[in-house]
C-alpha cells in the first residue's frame, strides 16, 4: 500500500527519468520527522495511512481527534455552495499539516485528490508537541500564513481575472509542486496530477472551458499538449505573464518550494533526521 502511495507522490515521480515512469520509490522508510522531544512521531509506520483519491480526511461539522501530516499527494479543501456546486477553496501539499484548527464548518471538508501518504497524529499529542517545540510552532505559523495567502489570491482572482488567466497562473504554480521534468531543449514537461473536474472547481469554471483554453493555449504556442496530463511548457515566463503573477510568482511559491526541499533532504538521508522544520 505504502509503495503505491510513494509511487504517485510528487518526489517519486520527480526523480523518474521518463515521464510517468516510476524509477525510484524514494519515500519508503522515510520518517515524517515531526520532532517530539527525542522520539520521532510517525517514525514507525503505524501512524501512516495510504489513501486513495477522493477519500475523506476531515468532515466538516464534526470535531476531529486527529491532525494530519502530508507525506505525499495532494489534498483539497472544499465546500458546497448554496446552489449545490462544489468549490475547492485551496489545496494542501506535501509537508503541510492539516486539521490543526480542530473543526471545520458543516459542509466544509478535506479530501484527497491524488493517491496520498498521510501521517495521522493524535490531537493531544500534537498539542503537547506544539507546546514543547518552538520550531514546530514557528512552522505551523508559516504554513497558516502561506495557506491564507493562497486562499486570498484565489478568491481575489475569481473576481479579478478571467478563467484563462486563472488557468495560466495555476499552470505556472503547478510547476512547483507537481512533477516538472526538463527535456532536451531546455524547456520542461509538467505532469498535471489533478483531474479536470478538480481544476475546474478550484478555478471556478467548468471542464469544458478548461479544454477550450487548453486548446487555445496550445494553438498560441504557450503550451504543447503531449497528452491530457502532460504539457510541455516552452516558456514559463509567458505563463506567469498571462496569469498576471509576473511579480508575485517567486513570493507565492517560496513556502511551497522550501517545504519541498526540506522533504527532499529527508528523502536523501537514510538515517533518522532530527528536525524537519528547517528555519528559513
Amino acid at each position: 500500500m505504502e509503495h503505491q502511495v510513494a509511487a504517485t507522490g510528487i518526489w517519486a515521480e520527480r526523480h523518474a527519468a521518463p515521464i510517468c515512469t516510476i524509477s525510484r520509490r524514494a519515500s519508503i522508510g522515510v520518517s515524517c520527522a515531526l520532532p517530539l522531544g527525542k522520539s520521532m512521531l510517525c517514525g514507525n509506520a503505524s501512524h501512516r495511512e495510504g489513501r486513495a483519491p477522493d477519500s475523506e480526511i476531515i468532515t466538516g461539522g464534526a470535531s476531529s481527534h486527529d491532525v494530519w501530516f502530508i507525506r505525499s499527494g495532494i489534498l483539497r479543501l472544499q465546500r458546497y455552495g448554496y446552489d449545490g456546486r462544489r468549490h475547492i477553496l485551496s489545496l494542501f501539499l506535501p509537508g503541510e499539516i492539516v486539521g490543526f484548527e480542530g473543526e471545520f464548518r458543516k459542509g466544509v471538508g478535506v479530501e484527497t485528490v491524488t493517491q496520498s501518504g498521510l501521517c495521522r497524529i493524535n490531537r493531544r499529542m500534537f498539542d503537547t508537541m506544539l507546546n514543547d517545540n518552538d520550531e514546530l510552532r514557528a512552522e505551523i505559523f508559516r504554513q497558516k500564513q502561506d495557506q491564507l495567502d493562497r486562499l486570498h489570491w484565489l478568491t481575489w482572482s475569481l473576481g479579478a481575472l478571467s478563467p484563462e488567466e486563472r488557468y495560466c497562473a495555476f499552470l505556472a504554480l503547478s510547476t512547483r509542486y507537481m512533477p516538472y521534468q526538463t527535456v532536451s531543449d531546455g524547456s520542461a514537461v509538467l505532469t498535471m496530477q489533478l483531474p479536470r473536474v478538480d481544476i475546474a472547481d478550484l478555478l471556478g469554471t467548468t471542464v469544458e472551458t478548461l479544454c477550450r483554453i487548453n486548446r487555445k493555449l496550445s494553438e498560441a504556442g504557450v503550451i504543447e499538449i503531449k497528452d491530457p496530463t502532460h504539457f510541455r511548457i516552452p516558456d514559463l515566463h509567458r505563463l506567469t505573464s498571462l496569469g498576471r503573477i509576473d511579480g508575485t510568482f517567486d513570493r507565492m511559491v517560496r513556502g511551497i518550494t522550501e517545504r519541498r526541499h526540506c522533504l527532499d533532504r529527508m528523502v536523501a538521508a537514510t538515517s533518522k533526521i532530527s528536525t524537519c522544520f528547517c528555519g528559513r
Copy 2:
C-alpha cells in the same frame, strides 16, 4: 463649510422628515470625541476638514503623516487594476479611523465618495493616544476586524455571486449606513448616496448592468424606484435572501450599527462627551 458637511452626512438626513430635505444640522458643534487623557482631540474645529466628493485623502506610495477620523460621509479604498480599471476594495463609514497603517502601496488610495466631515489627527499624537488608551486600542482592533470581514466578503462575492446577487446584498447592507426612512405602510425608503459608477466599481460590474438590474428588481417588485437615488424597499428580507446574506446579515452589520449608535449618542448630547468608543 461644516454646515454643508453635516447636511449631507448620514445622521443629518436620517432625522429629516421628508426625503432629502434637511431639517436639522445635527452634527454642528459635536466633538470628535477621540479621548486623549483629559483633553479632547478634535474638540475644537481646527482639525476638522470638510471635503468635497472625490477628493484624495490618502495617496498610495507616499507615507502619510496623518490619521483620519470620519465624522460624516463615506470614503472609498480603491486601486487601479493592471488593465487600468478602477476597483473599489472597500468603503469606510462614519466613526471609523482610516490611515492607521501608515502607508498604502502605490496605486492604492483613499478618496471621499460623498461630501465628508473628517478629523485630521497627527500620527505621533495618535500613537501616543493608542499607547495611553486601552479603549481606543480595542476599538481600532474591532474596526480592523470589521473592515477585513467586509473586504473578505466582497472579494468572495465577486467570484461566487452574480452581479444581481451582489447588488441585492449591497442594497440590503446600505440600509444600515445610509438614510433609510420608514414610510406610512411600514416599508422604508433608502437614499442611495453612492453614484452609479462607484457602486459599479465596488461590485465589479458596470453602470449599465446596474441600471438593468435596478429595472428588473423594480419589475419584480423587490424595490420601487422613486427616483435614481431613492428606492422604496417593501421587504428587506427579500433583498437579503436574493443577496445570499440571509444568515449573515446581522453579523455583517453589527459593527456598523454599533458605531452609528455611538455617534448618535454624541449627537444627542450637547456637552462634551468623555469617550466615544463605548464597549460592546
